[in-house]
Symmetry: D2
């Protein structure tokens, strides 16, 4: 059911976040500890903001742990804001168009979890998507449909409201069809400036989500860590499960809540 990671802060080489930490996301592709599955080997994706007008997206159907091109890309690309996602498919095909993150213009979107009874309510959900966005749907996943629902409900203007409305719409359609727990998961989205992270489930037992504590405090506690000296004061990581080996570095996102970080803002 996937694991993901999002970074915002001073520009950093992707490999320093994706490969270097002890229990890195790449390691989690084989040995996830907190995920619904141990193995997340059904493809992966990276989305990063750079000099171009839209973020770059690199997605592959290979398991992340052995993908040579991901290793190369991560070793040569720096970014102040990027997403990474490893996938454990539940039903839909292993193909690039089903890999996260999804992109629409400047927006990236990724998800760990699922829409309950998706086959049953997919048609209703798809019909609610703005017809102008309909041709943009490229894959089969619940996550992509949720993304276009959120865009339909105003993601560009008010992300927390749009995500709440999209999930609410999913829950309403699900319950009409007798689905007990229509939504489960954590979501990250960004416009290249701010990064929003959501944790929610109809059941009230949501997938895990953590973010890093203030970098200035971490530096004091772990003065020997080179990486903490490199990154800016406002650097943040949001992750499905902690990477690295610093016990005091992580704060869990509470149930049914969201947070936003980015250039100068935090909430």
């Amino acid at each position: 059911m996937c694991r993901w990671l999002a970074y915002t802060g001073s520009p950093i080489l992707l490999t320093d976040v994706l490969y270097t930490p002890v229990h890195s996301l790449i390691d989690q592709s084989l040995h996830s500890k907190l995920g619904a599955e141990t193995t997340n080997g059904d493809g992966f994706g990276v989305g990063w903001y750079g000099a171009a007008a839209v973020p770059g997206v690199f997605r592959s159907t290979e398991p992340a742990w052995n993908d040579q091109n991901l290793h190369e890309l991560a070793g040569h690309v720096t970014s102040p804001l990027f997403f990474a996602h490893i996938r454990a498919a539940i039903g839909s095909s292993v193909q690039q168009t089903n890999c996260h993150p999804f992109r629409c213009d400047r927006w990236l979107w990724m998800h760990n979890g699922y829409i309950g009874g998706f086959a049953t309510i997919k048609r209703d959900l798809v019909l609610a998507i703005d017809p102008s966005l309909f041709p943009e749907i490229k894959g089969q996943t619940d996550t992509e449909v949720l993304f276009y629902l959120a865009l339909t409900f105003g993601l560009r203007d008010d992300p927390p409201d749009a995500v709440a409305r999209a999930i609410g719409f999913v829950e309403a359609r699900g319950r009409e069809h007798g689905i007990e727990y229509p939504f489960q998961g954590t979501i990250a989205t960004s416009d290249g400036e701010s990064l929003w992270a959501f944790r929610y489930s109809s059941e009230g037992k949501s997938r895990s989500l953590f973010f890093t504590r203030d970098v200035r405090r971490l530096r004091e506690e772990y003065p020997g860590r080179e990486i903490l000296r490199q990154v800016s004061d406002d650097a943040r990581l949001v992750v499905s499960e902690p990477i690295g080996d610093l016990p005091g570095a992580w704060v869990e996102v509470p149930e049914a809540s969201y947070g936003v970080v980015g250039r100068g803002r935090e909430q």
Copy 2:
């Protein structure tokens, strides 16, 4: 814009049809003579009827000309009725779920051509598909949508009528949106007993389609051909463009028409 081939007759090793002929389908993947494109390198697919309840389908995103697994499969599988398709993508992703043939239960379906202005009318077409079939749509192609429209319109009961209604529906929706030529192409479909082939275009200039003349006559003309002695009297090949080097072997399917061949029937 793709090339395809369908065989019905006595069981034959796939390689004898796919690889052995001089201008074989595999050769056409690199050097098509009559196709809209010379190269058909955006994946391929084979569907074959055998002992199992549903036909087997093997699809890949690799170009057919160099695919080792296709070569192996074709050298070890025999079938009395099979489809093969090589793809030149126009817009949709190169992924297995976009490769022909498509399958629903006993039915196979493949297509060379396109729905004009597909992005514009896709939503209207998808909405017309029977909701019970909606979750079966796995890819992004116009061909797959047309397949589920034909199934919605009764493909299982009366294939020529259902295909005519599906294409008619596409043309009606297309013209509502000002699309001059909404449909172009050739289609093959089968239930494992009979094989239907269609040639039609809104423009009246359809993609090429040929079938083989009666095997008994061909044997008389080309007594030295081993393959003609192997196959049954009712064997037929239907192809986008002739394979092999027997000039008198092929008959062109007329514009805006269809044919059906199979166990004991012909039309």
Copy 3:
């Protein structure tokens, strides 16, 4: 470090062995219990004997658990003798030419384990391969080099002797270079008639290997099992770790030994 399975007996649909059993090989690709790794997701391969002069080989770099083409092939191909292998790569690339089983004419070969210090002694090993076989090496693996060494040492004439000599040669070269345990693993090979299985390691702690007990006895113990009624009296499975849920069905191959089964023979 891989898991494998080999079947000989009356012709059987591959899926009945590969997918149907409770702890099937496909399941082991995600959840191996006895393997050096839990996940065997770095490609897979199937080799099967049929009507053709050489066995068919289907190999892919995708994890087996989600490969649609393997699922199709297994559901449509029957064989009286076939190999299946799932890979956990250790060092060499994830590419088809590194996937087992390897083939040379009528011979198939697969392996679970490794040659210790392979990078150090690879050149010595490759030089010992018959120059006429040298161009046949297609991949990078220790397993393939061992196969061509065994062929060089007479695999076609006396498999147990040739395998012993090949492993002995590896051990000699390894010890020259100070490698403590130069060989580890289990091997299966076949000429389409007999099936040889080997278990050996320089260390004396070899990878696990099991074979099924006599089918007639199993039928008596488990009269309700349909599959046991289908297969012939001489049917045998050899596996890295037991599949299915019949506790008395499996016998462990002893350390440093081999067995041979096949048409009318057993040892």
Copy 4:
């Protein structure tokens, strides 16, 4: 038999060279005009120098014309020196380890052409490679073997001499085996500072090779071209066949010669 391109000059977005020109390398993957084959669809590779100690290498077995990840990478990576290669395989497998460019530390290497009778002389060539380099060979291609021969013969110290010796060695071994024309092709190599390009064939009819004329002159002739204003005075492209539509922009590299360009040097 492949097409390639190498750029050196002021840092430039890869897409401006790979995708934007009229007859771009990506276009040549489908429609090569001067190549031995029209289609170069058996994988591709890009190697680029950046801030990291070694150049990045991105290789794929997909045809370049439809590869979404190449499109993304090219749109987000800038480099002052990069290689790109599209492959038409002749015999060896379509796998990443057979895709150009090849890399060893700071060195990149790519080739259009072949070693004649490679299967016959491969063993002799491989044996001549420095044993310390032997384990670095990852694929099956003649090009990679030639690269390690050139490294063995001193590529790091004197590239023209080492390449001449490596080709001379190939020709000597080939002629011992009665091969009339043992070498054919063009080669590019770089250490990240300079770029060497070679054109040679035993036959005296070498694959085509071109480089761009002096940028200052081109700017005078084509004052309206934005790209010519962007790049530095010393920018050079070396290509298998001209890209773009500026007739006076290209100079053919003479038979049996080489050139070197790079930071401040030209020959």
